[in-house]
């Protein structure tokens, strides 16, 4: 079991000049096993902080985060993280970067090599196995980071704006590939983004967050739309042209805008 449950989570930061800042107000969120949830919201809404709490890289000020029924007390290989800045070790080759977690786990070499080879092929990295990260484009580097996450066979995948540093074309290719990958290897996924399109296209459910203080405004089910529209059989640009998609996009935009307005008036 690998459902992710946020129970009455808050996060406050102490300000350098005294006083406290409420980054996340009391938040409850349950992500079911093998559900793909995208969290959208403006900078400063606490979406990345929520993900980092599930990763065990940050901790709630009150409340709790549980993954698979166990309270998160630190990072662990069953919760793989994909960072916006790729976070590849520059001194390790593509193969060594992908295999690092397996090596830490002490996986038998033959088994590790087979798994690494499978994901190198799946992510279109063949021929770059012995390259160093600086020899690859941003898109290729993020493919390595995604392969590195999947190769651990994690129960949950936590992605923090993984395509945020990529150019528009590369981004679209990666979004399509992630859909393909997620269908082939369903996992519990938290996908952080500020791109509404990306959230609707990728996720089963979109969580919309606002700021001041950070909290969930609304949670929207996308799965029925995708099934009805047959999105998974269509190229991304056609999906984004369907009335159902554009309607959903404006609905989320209105939610975000209304919340920003309210925060500004406050």
């Amino acid at each position: 079991m690998s459902e992710i449950v946020f129970k009455a989570v808050t996060k406050t930061f102490r300000l350098p000049r005294g006083g406290e800042f409420l980054a996340i107000d009391t938040t409850d969120l349950r992500i079911e096993e093998k559900e793909f949830v995208a969290i959208v919201g403006p900078s400063g809404c606490g979406k990345t902080t929520l993900m980092r709490m599930a990763a065990g890289l940050e901790f709630p000020s009150s409340g709790s985060v549980e993954v698979g029924g166990k309270r998160v007390v630190g990072p662990g290989p069953e919760r793989a993280v994909v960072f916006q800045q790729f976070a590849l070790m520059p001194w390790k080759t593509v193969r060594e970067n992908i295999g690092f977690g397996l090596m830490c786990r002490g996986a038998p070499k033959a088994e590790a090599d087979a798994a690494i080879g499978r994901y190198i092929e799946l992510m279109g990295l063949s021929g770059h196995e012995d390259s160093f990260p600086h020899q690859l484009s941003g898109g290729m580097q993020q493919r390595v980071a995604i392969a590195r996450a999947y190769v651990m066979n994690p129960a949950a995948l936590l992605m923090d704006e993984p395509f945020g540093a990529l150019d528009a074309q590369t981004r679209i290719v990666m979004q399509e590939e992630l859909v393909r990958l997620a269908r082939r290897n369903p996992r519990t996924v938290i996908f952080i983004t500020h791109a509404v399109d990306e959230a609707i296209y990728l996720a089963d459910r979109v969580v919309v967050m606002g700021r001041k203080p950070g909290r969930i405004i609304e949670t929207i089910d996308i799965k029925p739309l995708r099934a009805e529209g047959g999105w998974e059989e269509m190229p991304i640009e056609e999906v984004m042209d369907t009335p159902a998609f554009t309607h959903m996009r404006s609905r989320i935009w209105k939610l975000l805008k209304a919340r920003e307005q309210a925060a500004a008036d406050h």
């Binding site: 990763a55 065990g56 890289l57 630190g74 990072p75 662990g76 290989p77 919760r79 793989a80 993280v81 960072f83 800045q85 976070a87 070790m89 520059p90 001194w91 390790k92 690092f100 977690g101 830490c104 786990r105 160093f132 600086h134 020899q135 590195r148 651990m152």
Partner: protein, 264 residues
């Protein structure tokens, strides 16, 4: 075009470098032998330096041949430098990784650091005499500092997101240190090694000037007492060649260890 430039650039640099050296040698010859502008007791002519070079290679000077002096100095630098690196780099890594270690060591370090190498030499002579041990000790003290500081800075500059990423992949603290922190600090560690090596040569020559039985500093010291400018220049050139040679060797090692860096 770009490929042509890349091919041309190194050879052009070599040509310019060679031309500069030849020009300086030419000016030297003109100023001393050609036009006799300078008093040979101030700056000897190339022929006198050559004669001194032949003398120290054949009969020897200050108790040994040039090769013997140079090897003696090289051996001391190698020992002092090695001890400094073996002790300094781990201490710097520890201070960079652990705030507690930093708090413990830093005050002593800050007090010792401003003392110049030369100021240690009298104490080293009192403790160890004029033999090798005192010189290795003084080289260690001065070469130690850049190794520590740069290893420390290197650890502090390691991208924290790489450490976080390693932890999310299940790396233990030992694995984080071995695979993330130390490789990440390595470019700065090498900067420290280069500075330590320079400090080793500076300190060694200073220590041998004060008192030694062999070595390039001893050659310089005796040549000074004999008012023998040709031999002084031979000694200085030998220090330059040894220093440049060891720096070049370190550079080879650096390129091999840091092969993952983009070419500059």
């Amino acid at each position: 075009m770009a490929a042509g430039n890349a091919l041309l650039r190194p050879s052009r640099a070599v040509l310019v470098g060679t031309a500069t050296v030849l020009a300086v040698l030419g000016l030297w010859w003109l100023a001393t032998s050609g036009l006799r502008l300078l008093n040979p007791l101030r700056l000897p002519a190339p022929s006198e330096v050559w004669a001194a070079f032949q003398q120290i290679n054949g009969r020897g000077y200050a108790g040994a041949t040039l090769i013997e002096h140079a090897l003696h100095s090289l051996g001391l630098v190698a020992r002092g430098f090695a001890v400094a690196v073996i002790t300094g780099v781990p201490l710097g890594l520890l201070m960079g990784w652990s705030r507690r270690a930093e708090a413990l060591v830093n005050p002593i370090f800050l007090l010792l650091r401003p003392i110049p190498a030369l100021a240690w030499i009298p104490l080293a002579i009192v403790w160890f005499g004029l033999g090798d041990t005192g010189k290795v000790f003084v080289i260690w003290l001065t070469a130690f500092v850049p190794s520590v500081i740069n290893a420390f800075t290197g650890v502090r500059q390691v991208d924290t997101i790489l450490i976080a990423a390693a932890r999310t992949q299940g790396a233990s603290t030992a694995q984080v240190l071995r695979h993330v922190v130390i490789p990440g600090a390595m470019p700065m560690i090498f900067t420290g090694l280069r500075l330590s090596l320079q400090a080793s040569w500076t300190t060694l020559v200073a220590a041998e000037l004060v008192g030694a039985f062999f070595g390039l500093g001893r050659v310089l010291n005796i040549a000074g007492q004999d008012i023998y400018p040709g031999m002084i220049l031979v000694g200085m050139a030998a220090v330059a060649v040894c220093g440049a040679g060891t720096t070049w060797l370190l550079g080879l090692l650096e390129r091999r260890v840091l092969n993952w860096r983009p070419a500059v």
